[in-house]
Each structure stands twice: as structure tokens, then as C-alpha cells.
């Protein structure tokens, strides 16, 4: 189909639409819109869209605009809907603002939605990291490159792990939701209500109060045995930054108990601006640790609010927030427990290396967990 239109009604054609119905279903699969408002024969704007899989939705759209009518394009964009859900997943924008023929602005979307599913296109993580890390250091291949500056170091895959995040269903179900995030790392994706029901049946979760983190590993292990699931859980008390890094490097994305009122790390915030009771227990998932010239940071998936995926927190703030709960974490690992784990806890031993002898007495025993004040509901 070919349609010519006259926008200003001066009798001179200003544009043309050329479209094609390739499969004769009455829906156009490709469309080219050309606009030449000054009738100089050079398009002022060009829009091209195509439905590559013939599903009635344009998967690629590109636009070129000559804003100063000099015959050279000043702005161009390309968008692609990779998964065919009608939402652009990858996009590139190029603009030449001073008309010198050299692009002055170049931006591209982070592609998170295309790659990891239903996550925010511009996640808080991507925004937060842009100032001090750069997207390229989030790639494992780069981070393991020994030639890179040692301060550009990342442990874990926090961008990929945005896909693990889920918002908690209920006000006190943070540990349940975080457990579900851990399950996803070992291939189990179940509804939060299922996990909540299991936790409730074992009396470690009360919807009106929260979850006792001191028994999460035991309940997960019982669940794995009863349902013949190929994973197990361990609890780590007294973790250190180094032991967390080792966990992340080994693919573990642990649940960490924190004081939610301390996570913001902003001592100047007023009580009525946050509304959180001091020492309130909360559970989050650790997905990354970053060291760069700006300092040391952790990346967490926080189930507590809609923008909780990929939050970047200074390491010191994170450690202070978790210190109130004995630097306690729960890890879900694939396979059966190793002999080391059964005899005291592989991760516990790693954490142990960074602890003083005074703290060793409360490591790895249920008795200590129950009495050290670290087992507040999460």
C-alpha cells in the first residue's frame, strides 16, 4: 500500500507511507514513513517498522530525523522487541546535536528485560553502578581479567540476579520471599505461598510476626529430603566480607539477616521519614560484592519494596546492619551436604577464619543461635 499525505495543505506532498502485507492477512508487516516537509527531496524524518515474525506486532522500529534540514541526519534510534511481548527490549539512540556529522549522544538500554525477563529496564542497580563501576565490569569475563585494576573487582553476578528478585507477598514474609530467591539459584521456582505454608507448618514462620531464621536451614533440608530435591541449606554465623565473597564466587546467593532501619546508612534520616523500628529484623539476598575506587559495596535483592532488586549498599553499612543479628546468613547449595558441612559447616569454617576466638564459641551450634539475640524474626 502506498499513501501520500499533505500535512500543511499546500498541495505539495509532505510525506509518504509505504506498507506491505506480506502474508495477506490484512495486517501490514512492514511500514516505511517518509516525511519531507520542506520539499527539498531529502527526507526530514524516516520511520521504518517491521513485524519479522508475522505476529501482528512490530519487533523492530527505527527512526532517523534531520532536525536542521541540512540533509544530514541529526537523530537516530533503533528499538528491538526481542521476546515479542510488544515492549522494546534493546534500544540504541544516536544524536548529533551540533550538526557536525559526529554523534554527540549515544545511549543504549541495559537490555535487562530482554535477557532476564520481567525486570525494570533501568534498574536501580544499573543507575547506581553507572557512576562508579561501568556496565563492562559487571561482566564476569572482565572481572576475572587480572590486568584490570584490582579495585574494579566484582564478586557474583548481580545484574543477572535481578531476575531472582521477588517482592514479598505479606508484610512479614521477607525471609520466605528471600528463601524463594535462593531456591531459584538451584532451579526451583515455586510460589511464595507454598514456601510460606511449609515454614508455617514447621512453626518457623508466623504471618503476624515473621520468620525465625535460626531454623530456616533445617526446614529447607527437611523439605529437600521429603521432596527428593537436589539441594541443601546451611546456616552461617559470623560471616566476614571474605567469606561472603567466597560464597558469591561459588555461585551461592545467601539470605542475610539485617536490621532494616540501618540499611539506609543515613544517620541523618528522621524516624518519621523511615518509620522503621530500630533493630527490626529483615531478610535480604546478597547477590554481589563490588570493590572499586569509590569503595566497597554489596548488592542485594531486597524483597521489602517494589524497587528492591539490585540495591547497592556500602559494605560498612551492610555489615553494621547485619552485625545486630550475629552476621548470620543462610545458604542454599546444590547437591547433598558434604562431609565438611555435616561435621560443622563448610561455610562456617570459612567465616571462622576472620573471627576472634571470643566469637568462636557461638559458631555453628543451634544453642548459640537461640541465645545470642541474633534470631529475631525476619
Amino acid at each position: 500500500m502506498n499513501e501520500i499525505f499533505d500535512i500543511d495543505g499546500d498541495g505539495i506532498p509532505d510525506g509518504e507511507i509505504v506498507s506491505a502485507d506480506l502474508d495477506n492477512d490484512g495486517i501490514d508487516e512492514s511500514m516505511i514513513l517518509t516525511v519531507d516537509t520542506n520539499a527539498d527531496g531529502s527526507p526530514d524524518a524516516l520511520y521504518i517498522a517491521s513485524d519479522t515474525n508475522l505476529d501482528g506486532v512490530f519487533e523492530t522500529e527505527s527512526t532517523v530525523i534531520d532536525t536542521d534540514f541540512d540533509g544530514n541526519p541529526d537523530f537516530g534510534s533503533l528499538g528491538m522487541d526481542i521476546d515479542g511481548d510488544g515492549i522494546i527490549d534493546e534500544g540504541v539512540v544516536v544524536a548529533d546535536s551540533d550538526g557536525d556529522g559526529v554523534p554527540d549522544v549515544f545511549s543504549s538500554t541495559d537490555g535487562a528485560q530482554a535477557i532476564w525477563g520481567d525486570v525494570a529496564e533501568s534498574s536501580p542497580l544499573a543507575e547506581d553502578l553507572s557512576g562508579f563501576a561501568g556496565q563492562e565490569v559487571l561482566n564476569d569475563d572482565f572481572s576475572s581479567d587480572p590486568t584490570l585494576d584490582a579495585y574494579n573487582e566484582i564478586h557474583g553476578t548481580p545484574i543477572e540476579d535481578l531476575a531472582l528478585w521477588e517482592e514479598q507477598d505479606d508484610p512479614n514474609s521477607c525471609a520466605v520471599a528471600t528463601t524463594n530467591m535462593m531456591f531459584r539459584t538451584v532451579g526451583l521456582d515455586i510460589d511464595e505461598q507454598v514456601t510460606a505454608a511449609i515454614f508455617e507448618s514447621r512453626s518457623i514462620y508466623d504471618p503476624s510476626a515473621g520468620t525465625d531464621p535460626g531454623m530456616i536451614d533445617d526446614v529447607i533440608n527437611e523439605m529437600a529430603i521429603r521432596c527428593d530435591l537436589d539441594f541443601h541449606a546451611v546456616q552461617i554465623d559470623g560471616f566476614t566480607p571474605e567469606s561472603l565473597q567466597d560464597m558469591l564466587d561459588d555461585g551461592i546467593r545467601p539470605l542475610v539477616c539485617v536490621d532494616s532501619s540501618e540499611l539506609s546508612g543515613d544517620d541523618a534520616r528522621l524516624l518519621n521519614e523511615m518509620g522503621l523500628i530500630p533493630d527490626t529484623g529483615h531478610a535480604v539476598q546478597l547477590t554481589g560484592i563490588i570493590h572499586n575506587e569509590e569503595g566497597d559495596f554489596v548488592v542485594i535483592n531486597d524483597p521489602g519494596y517494589p524497587d528492591g532488586a539490585g540495591q547497592v549498599i556500602p559494605m560498612e553499612t551492610f555489615l553494621q546492619a547485619s552485625e545486630d543479628f550475629g552476621n548470620t546468613a543462610v545458604a542454599v547449595l546444590p547437591g547433598a551436604p558434604s562431609e565438611a558441612e555435616e561435621s560443622g559447616g563448610h561455610w562456617g569454617k570459612i567465616a571462622l577464619a576472620g573471627l576472634s576466638s571470643g566469637a568462636l564459641g557461638i559458631m555453628g551450634s543451634k544453642a548459640a543461635k537461640s541465645s545470642d539475640g541474633s534470631n529475631g524474626k525476619q
Binding site: 510476626a209 525465625d212 518519621n272 521489602g304
Partner: protein, 183 residues
């Protein structure tokens, strides 16, 4: 010889540190009571629900009482109201009774609250002596206590520590609506 029996009772009997008390929630600052010429601290625990969007935490009616020796961690009484011995049977469980923070804490930062709490707690020793001797409280202590304590605790503490509440000279600060619902 160690037994393989893992019955909860046997585990508890052999290791009392496994005792699990549901004390998670928003604690009142200790109210003073005198038992057999010994000073005790009584605390109530409120269930909470954080509401991030509203920047408040909802507080619910007390779920537990903990009584321990003054300035010690020695528990002499623990009552879980959910399982009987509820001194407030007519107060509903499922509706918030107050919000955190209460107005007296507005404008205060977390470090400031922490400092104020430490100041109050450091004043307990002297307050305890005065209370034991005269069943009254130093003015500074009463003022600090009433500022930091969420007022919703007062009607619930009143039947449990009546002399202490009287010594606070609470007056009009006692929320009357809730008092009427309590026993």
C-alpha cells in the same frame, strides 16, 4: 554417653539455651515492679508490621510479657498472651492500636534516639532506688520515659505495673479509649 534421641523435651532438658521465647516485636521500656522487696522490670512486646510506603510501622496489641530482675537478663516470668493468661481479652489482635514513631519522636534521628535511650536506661538505677524507697520517680526520668515510650503502652502497663504508672504522673497522656477496652 550421648543419646541419639532428639525428642524436643530431651533436647531442652539437656540444653536450656534452646528454649525459644516469642519475644520479637516492639518492646516497651521496662516498667518497675516490686516483688518481695526485690525490684523487677516488666516489659510488654507488641507485634509489628512495617509499612514502607507509609513510612510507619503498625503496632498491635501486646502479645507477650517478660519480667526479669532489674539490670539483669534473668527472666522470672514470661507469658505469651496468645496462649492464655491474656490480661486484655477484649482487645482485638488483628487491628493496629498505634503507629511507630509516635509524635514525640518526630524530628529525631536514629542516632539521637539511640543516645536518648542510653540516657534513659542509665537513669534506671537511680530511679529504681527512688521507686523502692518512695514509690515515686525522679522528674527527669519520668519525663524522659514518657517521651520515648509509645503512649499506647501506658494503658497496657497500667494494670501490670500500677505503682510505676502512678509514679510517672501520666495524667492526660494515658490513651483513654484503649483503657476502656482492657481489663
Amino acid at each position: 554417653m550421648k543419646s541419639d534421641n532428639t525428642h524436643p523435651f530431651l533436647e531442652l532438658r539437656s540444653n536450656q539455651r534452646l528454649l525459644a521465647l516469642d519475644t520479637v516485636g516492639y518492646w516497651s521500656y521496662p516498667a518497675l515492679v516490686i516483688r518481695k522487696k526485690s525490684l523487677q522490670w516488666v516489659c510488654l512486646v507488641l507485634p509489628t508490621v512495617a509499612m514502607a510506603e507509609k513510612k510507619r510501622t503498625a503496632l498491635f496489641r501486646p502479645k507477650a510479657l517478660i519480667e526479669f530482675g532489674a539490670n539483669s537478663a534473668s527472666v522470672v516470668r514470661y507469658v505469651n498472651f496468645r496462649f492464655g493468661n491474656d490480661p486484655f481479652p477484649s482487645v482485638q489482635w488483628d487491628k493496629p492500636v498505634a503507629m511507630f514513631p509516635h509524635k514525640d519522636l518526630w524530628g529525631m534521628t536514629y542516632p539521637q534516639l539511640n543516645d536518648a535511650e542510653n540516657q534513659l536506661l542509665n537513669a534506671y538505677e537511680e530511679a529504681g532506688k527512688v521507686f523502692m524507697a518512695k514509690k515515686s520517680l525522679p522528674d527527669d526520668f519520668a519525663e524522659s520515659y514518657l517521651k520515648l515510650l509509645n503512649p499506647i503502652f501506658l494503658p497496657f502497663l497500667k494494670p501490670l505495673a500500677p505503682d510505676f504508672i502512678n509514679a510517672l504522673r501520666v495524667g492526660s497522656r494515658l490513651p483513654k479509649a484503649t483503657v476502656a477496652e482492657t481489663n
